[in-house]
């Protein structure tokens, strides 16, 4: 066996399992409708991979990932709206609510290239400004959580308030095509699922490389002993900002792929409630593990859909109880359950819960 297989056998097997499940099993057993639904969950899982990096490894409790998800989603939705309207055309809802003109800041998104760049660049830029401003001044970890949440609240309110240019509470919907491909064609729907699955797999690989790298070790060090890292000559603000920006980009890409699959994005997808909602899957899967956050997000999204289809009010109770039980009693998520079973020492990168006070 080559050294990489010997040292990372379990991880590589994990990647293989994810790939087989997404590319072989799911398409053969699920209807096109169910597959699209799973595609939406896969987009949530991308957000979760980023949260695992920022929160699990970096100790930053990001309560505003919905913002980055939303930025990516709205950028993509704007492009698709403009694309549907044709060259120089005006999206339908603007004729309804606005003055029938395309606002200037929409224009760049007619270009597919600019759109694809912006899907990652805009979330990255916003995350950089907020992250750098907060981490540079050593603001408490709890303050960061609150400010990121305030950002989510403000973003959702902003979207709702600008109905003529953002679609308001309705959001943007009614798309017909995605870069020229007909969205009503089942073949294209399946293709979108494969694109999303491929993106998730790439993000997991990126996360794996980050966790193995020296940067990944440094990030854990910053999480646990920020001052110590400073006195070794590093700037912890930079270390944290990098992880936060990467997490934002992952959320942005997730949002951008969510739009063509779900056919809609609205303020309901980006505000305070969905932003915190992203965290529960990560907590369940094990915030500092590689596959846990994505897996947890998939399971929670699936549970939400099936539970709220049959008992709408049950889901809210269930989600509430999950938050309480998992965070209070199983801070490592599934990983702590399996560790109990196997009674093996925990890996060197699991968070020690008692050390989070370092940031408060």
């Amino acid at each position: 066996m080559t050294p990489i297989v010997r040292r990372h056998g379990a991880t590589l097997a994990g990647f293989a399992a994810v790939a087989v499940a997404l590319f072989a099993v799911a398409p053969s057993v699920l209807s096109t409708f169910r597959l699209s639904l799973l595609g939406q969950f896969v987009c949530f899982a991308m957000v979760a991979v980023g949260i695992g990096l920022a929160w699990g490894r970096g100790g930053m409790l990001t309560l505003g990932q919905g913002v980055y998800f939303g930025l990516g989603a709205y950028v993509m939705a704007m492009h698709m709206k403009l694309d549907d309207a044709g060259p120089g055309g005006v999206p339908d809802f603007m004729q309804l609510y606005g003055n029938g003109e395309v606002p200037l800041w929409w224009e760049p998104f007619r270009s597919p290239v600019i759109t694809l760049v912006a899907v990652a660049a805009i979330p990255a830029a916003v995350a950089f400004v907020l992250g750098w401003a907060i981490f540079r001044r050593g603001v408490r970890g709890a303050y960061f959580a609150i400010l990121s949440q305030a950002l989510a609240a403000a973003f959702a309110i902003l979207l709702i308030g600008q109905q003529a240019t953002t679609g308001g509470t309705n959001g943007l919907n009614g798309f017909r095509s995605f870069f020229g491909y007909d969205l009503f064609d089942p073949v294209n729907k399946r293709m979108l699922f494969f694109i999303a699955s491929g993106a998730l797999l790439l993000m997991l690989l990126a996360a794996w490389q980050l966790y193995r790298s020296r940067y990944g070790e440094l990030l854990v060090a910053v999480r646990d002993q920020e001052q110590r890292v400073r006195f070794l000559g590093y700037d912890p603000a930079l270390v944290k900002t990098v992880a936060y920006v990467i997490a934002a980009v992952m959320a942005g890409i997730g949002g951008a792929l969510f739009v063509p699959i779900a056919g809609i994005v609205s303020p309901d997808d980006v505000g305070v409630v969905p932003s915190i909602g992203f965290l529960i899957g990560v907590a369940i899967g094990g915030r500092a593990t590689l596959f846990g956050p994505a897996l947890g997000a998939l399971i929670v999204a699936w549970a939400e859909t099936s539970l709220s289809e049959s008992f709408p009010s049950m889901w809210t109770y269930f989600q509430g109880v999950l938050f309480v039980v998992v965070v209070a009693f199983l801070p490592r998520g599934f990983a702590s359950v399996s560790a109990l079973w196997r009674r093996r020492p925990t890996p060197a990168t699991e968070p020690a819960p008692q050390r989070q006070e370092a940031t408060v």
Binding site: I134, A142, Y143, L147, Y317, F323, V360
Partner: protein, 294 residues
Amino acid sequence: MDALFAQLFAGLSLGSVLLLAALGLALTFGQMGVINMAHGEFMMAGAYTAFVVQSVVGDAGLSLFVSLPAGFLVGGALGVLLEATLLRRMYHRPLDTLLVTWGVALILQQLARDIFGAPNVEVRAPGWLSGNVDLGLLQVSSARLFIIVLSVAAVVGLGVLLKTSPLGRRIRGTVQSRDLAETVGVSTRATDRMTFFIGSGLAGVAGVALTLLGSTGPTLGTNYIVDAFLVVVAGGIGQIKGCVIAAFGLGTLQAAFEYSTTASLAKVAVLVVVVVFLQARPQGIFSVKTRSLV
């Protein structure tokens, strides 16, 4: 001129609501580092308490004065229950308390929905609070004026309690140094519980007050919790005066931004102001000096 006074009053009014919502939060966050996301739902519980009291008592004026202490007790009881069952296990994990209390908030919201129904309910304001008062320079809503007075009373009451009572001394001591307080014989457990009772009770009072401004629904608290936390962040920890200045400051700013732009842009502007402000004072307006590195 009139417009200026009207703006100023709008700011004061918004600030007093923020203050009522944030005062209890500042207390629990300052003393225990607990980020209680269910604080908003304690407000909601206070508001529904007013609804229940009114349906029993009938008379709007009498029910308001019964509701204020009743809301305090309901909020406080919920707070103590939360502290005793969950939070006391988690003092060393402040960020995790945020998620746990969020879970509690979800449960409380759904409970309210199942008990009182999803549509909002109305609490009648007493006659003497439903009109306007002429202050000479301008006509102001008497309900809003009442809430300003109530928030000032809450601040003064809390201040007197902290400054003069033995409990207050214990609370202040624990804020400054939990370890030291324990070594000189303060039962920090009992103090924590009382702090949580008072802080959550204030949320209940805030909820009762909010019924004077609008209808009551299961998500009443969610609308205020984020702003209330911003006040705590800007005000700094451990001192009431920071909270007061931040509440009225942000209230006035919000009102001013709303006047010059739109309500939705004003939210963003206030957030930007807070982040920029933290560049200058990362600890907020005031903070108790402790010798921890962070």
